[in-house]
């Protein structure tokens, strides 16, 4: 086996081309890992938001909560339907909710964007995955209080604890931060249902009912029951499906991201291949010498592949490290109505994808130059200057 230091020192000797190649593969891995991390964060937010047993009940014909309006009286009757799970106190896990969209300024002059404000009762909070208060306290009904997630407080003006957010000239004081396992709930501001409908001056109407069925069978039965009921004029959608539909737009963006990443990867592979071709060409006489000394063709192949893989892995490593400052950093994407915040997630899987990408670039970019090195005729190679 040709010693590794032969390749490592050659990389160091031509440090300028090495650096350029490392930077280009590094950038590509960095961008790709960011993309993977983003996708992962988005998918995670999606996945934890939708509970298998949960249904979102909207007015017939509505496709989302914003476009849905239900009489509060009708909404309350849904709670008495059969098959709804009960909490420890025997109360049905059924939450009447009112959702409104406000245009609010982002911090640091980030412009104004849509913000979801949701009015709900305490049962609604228990329906959210992993709901817990991480700072301050829970809202109390009748006091015009609000709560939100830490990342929303950081992204929007007037959302930090102690600050007041205005809804129709009614001010809601932010009293606490909550977490909800990174789900879409972390992209919202919550207030008490009644307080919000009062502020919005629509006390008789709500947007949706969220409920949890006792079992998958009960869930499907509830969907069928509501679909058939002429009196209610309601439509129940499985929560998992609801969020999938909501995210289809984001998925399209993601595919475009993948296509661009694909081109970048191709480009970086070309850069690596080019560097390795130059290395093989300039070291022809060395290769001839190694072969004369008795190094078999296989070890020449491995040696140059190794060099290429090291080259790209260096880039991969730097690219992955450069994404770490973004870890957990939340960002937003707009679906059609509002911003969804979610965090970059660089778990082991995403970093492994980055490293794999670098390895693949090294192997694919290095294979043809390595084969050229192997196929050099010893005698002609030895004649090279």
């Amino acid at each position: 086996m040709i010693p590794a230091k032969y390749n490592l020192r050659n990389l160091r000797v031509r440090w300028m081309t090495t650096l350029l190649t490392v930077v280009s593969t590094g950038l590509v891995v960095w961008a790709s890992v960011l993309c993977f991390g983003l996708t992962d964060g988005l998918q995670y937010a999606l996945k934890v938001t939708g509970h298998e047993l949960d249904l979102i009940v909207l007015r017939k014909g509505a496709t989302d909560e914003i476009g849905s309006g239900i009489e509060q009286k009708v909404a309350r009757e849904v709670a008495s339907l059969p098959g709804i799970a009960k909490d420890e106190q025997g109360q049905p896990q059924c939450s009447v909710e009112f959702v409104t969209i406000l245009t609010k300024p982002r911090r640091n002059n980030g412009g104004t964007v849509n913000l979801i404000v949701r009015g709900l009762e305490s049962v609604g909070r228990t329906l959210r995955p992993g709901f817990r208060i991480v700072a301050g306290r829970d809202i109390e009904p009748g006091k015009f209080e609000a709560m939100t997630s830490r990342s929303m407080a950081a992204r929007f003006e007037n959302l930090a604890i102690g600050e007041k957010i205005e809804v129709n000239r009614q001010y809601f004081e932010v009293v606490g931060y909550y977490e909800a396992a990174g789900s879409a709930a972390e992209s919202e501001v919550w207030t008490d249902l009644r307080d919000l409908t009062i502020a919005r001056k629509t006390p008789a109407a709500v947007s949706a009912v969220c409920l949890r069925a006792e079992s998958p069978e009960q869930r499907d039965a509830l969907v069928a029951l509501l679909a058939d009921d002429k009196r209610f004029q309601l439509n129940a959608i499985r929560e998992t499906k609801y969020f999938e539909d909501q995210m289809n737009q984001a998925n399209a963006v993601q595919y475009i991201g993948y296509i661009i990443a694909g081109f970048l990867i191709f480009g970086a592979m070309f850069a690596a291949a080019n560097t390795m071709y130059a290395a093989v060409a300039s070291r022809a006489r060395e290769i001839g010498t190694l072969r004369a000394l008795g190094f078999p063709q296989g070890s020449i192949l491995l040696s140059f592949l190794f060099e290429s893989v090291v080259l790209c892995s260096l880039g991969g490593l730097i690219g992955c490290l450069a994404t770490l400052p973004f870890n957990g950093l939340s960002t937003g994407t707009s679906n059609q109505f509002s911003e969804i915040t979610f965090s970059f997630r660089f778990g082991p899987r995403v970093l492994a994808q980055g490293v794999m990408l670098a390895l693949v670039m090294g192997l694919l970019g290095g294979i043809l130059p390595a084969i050229r090195a192997v196929r050099l005729n010893i005698i002609t190679a030895l004649r090279e200057r």
Partner: protein
Amino acid sequence: MSNLNADETVVVVRDVCKEFHRDQLTIPVLSGINLELSTGDYLALMGPSGSGKTTLLNLIAGLDRPTSGDVIVCGQNLGQSSEGELSKWRSRHVGFIFQMYNLIPVLTAYENVELPLTLTSLSRRDRDDHVKAALEVVGLQDRMDHYPRQLSGGQEQRVAIARAIVTDPTLLVADEPTGDLDAKSAAEILDLMHRLNTEKEFRKTIVMVTHDPNAADRARRILHLEKGLLVSEVTDNRTRATVQ
């Protein structure tokens, strides 16, 4: 493969022809070469440029295969060996000395000499012993941590010789080993090769291509090649003439 005792035949070249093909053209380079070398022979190959000296040397060193005829070196019929077999065979039996030294620039003198040993199963410690012994033979132990660019041409060639002998091969092949050196360095290299040929602990069989009559005089036999044919031979009294 035969055991090699003193005065045993090391190289047999029998009716060897070598042609190169470029595009549709056939270029005959060697035609009907016969040659035999025994252990401890020292052959100088001379002749005008393009006469086929390097080509013949490459055949003997197992870098290339003849178009027809047999090249049998150290018991191996090289014309019938695969690429892989030739690689393995070269690492065991041949030491190479090149005109341009061909040291690996990114490796130190020590590491260059160690390189052929990485193909053996020797332990690190044994390798170290061998490398230091070889560097001592060429008188460069004190330069073992130097890189080739930090050495003079003569010193580089001595490191190359250390690399050629470190595996203790039967045969040394040298293509114009003094072609790029000044007279003093050339003389040192020729002295060294003379020692490797004559001293009992080495007794290397050497084939050297050279343009320099002074260098050729140090060999035991001189063969002249002209247009792919062996045309004349000068031998001293210790060698059998085998040119037909």
